[in-house]
Symmetry: C2
């Protein structure tokens, strides 16, 4: 179970280094087989896709076809609970409403003879990878699709691996249908990434690929990066809870466990000003873990990457959080809004005693695709921003350019670029006559 | 000199493929020596930096020191023209004023018992790489530093290689000083990137590294990516001019040449509805090239990556431009604003006959760090956005969470994550009693 330590100085640096090292996945072992798959799909198109689907997913899709048919979406609705559909719809409303606030407009500014602006255009076509099997998460469909839709992306295509009967997770299909995504292909793995990046007879190539996947998918995304854009390659998940003596140990333990159950590399950390709370949380962790289905994963995760740290005051706690830059940060303290300003590095910040992290995973509205393993120092949650791009716009009138021509020529000359200078000069050669 | 071709169908696809291939730099040959340099600086700190600076830049900095001293900035002012300083100041005003419009604010929204928001925080510390020698461009200092300053980045540090006497380009120092950047180190190459990424006794590590550099610098940036963030690795530069019969062939030729002089891989393309203009531009290219200093580079660039394409109407021209997604797009037509809406993919768009691309390189205000080689389909110009990151913020009251608890638990259960479900459940266990 988790250590409890009292932090004085820098004594825990080695643990923090271990935490960061979790991301250093070695892609090298996977590069060669992935390269082969990419090349096969690039050159053979659908034939390559079908071949690798047969080999890896154990299903021949020649009969059934790559694209999910209309009636399969309808069937999916019969395979899920009505409660789930209703909950999903309310989640969609919340997520859409939050992301709509991220929308950016083109803008311009003018002064005499000058027009400057920034034109916002959605990316034309985006591919969303949705894992299959036990990792087929409808919430992942929502979180990757909705920002693209709000951004105005017209072409949204989804790929997800088939089971041995060629079927696709009903939860995923229902989520896709609720969002109005109609183009879904039952392919997964590196072969699906190849189809999205290069295109095949059935699947038109995209400009950007997003969504989580296993090591083959991640390696393939890295390999096609440059041909197309990709989202960040997510590392293992983590939560950091900062708690004072007002926190409820039962709640804190439950939140730490909800992170630890993700996988053995997940990290759950508690920083508290109350040693008493730290000890109570530890007891609760032991008690609650016994009742949880994914207890084996949880025990390994807590043992290797869990830690309870006791600090003197909340200020030190927040400073430490900024150093760790966690994916999820919970402020389980009496006055969480008073700490908010000091938080600099965190993917998502959960305030107070009734804002557990899973609320954000599914329902509240903000995106659950967040920077992991300390990258919150420079990355942001997935957002509408990731599905648009901008063009600068410049217009100068003849007279406006005349006013500044000497300056531009001086700067070009200083850099030794005479053709740059010349492009201004030719426009006013007649002035001097 | 450049070909003139009449476009009918898809006949030019192979040329466009060649254009895109320009970016496929093979970093592999450089990875091993760069890895060695990174490791040496990581383990030896300043000693490693000094050693590699001696080896590659031919200067022992033990006496002179790594950091540029106050009096060196003053000396630099004596080595540049007063005209240059004045032009630089006016450029800074324009660039700052444009980028200030990109600033984003934190926002929040509330409803009963719920507070959702997005907190914007500048990246804490940024390193700017400025090349030395003939590629020491003061404009590059402005374009990389100003957006970071407008974003609110507190720690801005600059590195730039020394000459054989240990001195740094005066234009670069003047630009740094005008912007108030005080922390400048005379180191370059992969060793400078290593110092920024890992830190040494003299140079504190940064969170993000931006700025152009040679193949060693680019390879080093790729290698440290993940420890720190980096900007995009820029490919060769390109301009696409769309011109109708109102365009002046002298102006168009001069603009194409200003792009071609960058390097042999640079691409200058003209799409025109007027075959007559195409032929006149071709004549002008030949005439003007003779008068230019960088004629050797220009001739190679035009021969390999230059092309004049005649199309039937402007609509076809813009569609082709969207496919090419050029770094710079000039609309040298009678009514450029009427074409603007149809432009989807371009780094920067220059409208009309008096907005040559070099105006944007130096002076107008928008950033000159732009997506190259077709990546404008998914990337944007360097902006304030690149120097901030966002955190989602969520607060739910006890009552607000109670209202939605069933939905969250239903969604968690559907995904088989029972500890997620449990984190909601524990908060309301007493409700049921």
């Amino acid at each position: 179970m988790m250590d409890i330590i009292k932090l004085q100085g820098k004594e825990n640096q080695s643990f923090f280094k271990e935490l960061k090292k979790r991301t250093t996945v070695d892609f090298k072992d996977y590069e060669k087989p992935v390269e082969e798959i990419l090349e096969a799909v690039k050159t053979q198109g659908d034939a390559g896709l079908l071949e690798y689907t047969q080999r890896f997913d154990g299903i021949d899709l020649k009969e059934r076809g790559l694209r999910v048919r209309e009636e399969e979406f309808d069937e999916a609705y019969n395979l899920v609970e009505e409660d789930f559909i209703q909950a999903l719809r309310r989640a969609i409303d919340n997520i859409r409403s939050y992301h709509e606030r991220q929308r950016q407009n083109s803008w311009f500014t003018t002064s005499e003879g000058i027009f400057l602006g920034q034109k916002v255009t959605p990316i034309a076509r985006v591919g969303i990878y949705v894992p299959g099997g036990t990792a087929a998460y409808p919430s992942s469909v929502l979180m990757n699709t909705i920002p693209a839709q709000v951004a105005g992306v017209k072409g949204i295509v989804m790929v997800t691996p088939p089971d041995r009967e060629g079927k696709v997770s009903p939860g995923v299909l229902v989520a896709a249908k609720e969002l109005g995504v109609k183009e879904v292909y039952r392919v997964g793995g590196a072969q699906a990434v190849a189809a999205l990046a290069f295109g095949t007879e059935s699947i038109k190539r995209v400009d950007k690929i997003v969504g989580p996947g296993n090591i083959y998918v991640a390696t393939a995304k890295r390999a096609v990066y440059g041909y197309v854009d990709i989202d960040m390659i997510a590392g293992p998940s983590e939560v950091l809870v900062i708690a004072d003596e007002t926190a409820n140990p039962k709640f804190v333990a439950a939140d730490l466990l909800s992170q630890a159950e993700h996988d053995e590399m997940a990290s759950a950390l508690l920083i508290t000003t109350s040693e008493k709370l730290g000890m109570e949380v530890r007891e609760e962790l032991i008690r609650q873990t016994q009742q949880l289905e994914r207890r084996d994963i949880i025990e390994k995760s807590l043992r290797n990457y869990g830690k309870i740290m006791v600090v003197e005051d909340l200020k030190i706690g927040v400073a430490l959080a900024n150093e760790i830059a966690p994916e999820h940060l919970e402020l389980c303290v009496e006055k969480p809004f008073e700490l908010l300003d000091a938080v600099e590095n965190a993917g998502a910040i959960f305030l107070g005693h009734y804002t557990p992290e899973p609320l954000g995973d599914y329902f509240a509205g903000p995106n659950h695709v967040l920077p992991t393993s300390g990258t919150a120092k420079f990355y942001s949650p997935l957002s509408v921003e990731d599905f648009i791009k901008k063009s600068s716009v410049i217009y100068y009138s003849q007279e406006a350019l005349r006013q500044v021509k000497e300056d531009v020529m001086t700067l070009a000359a200083e850099e030794g670029l005479t053709a740059h200078k010349n492009s201004i000069k030719v426009r006013y050669e007649d002035d001097d006559k």
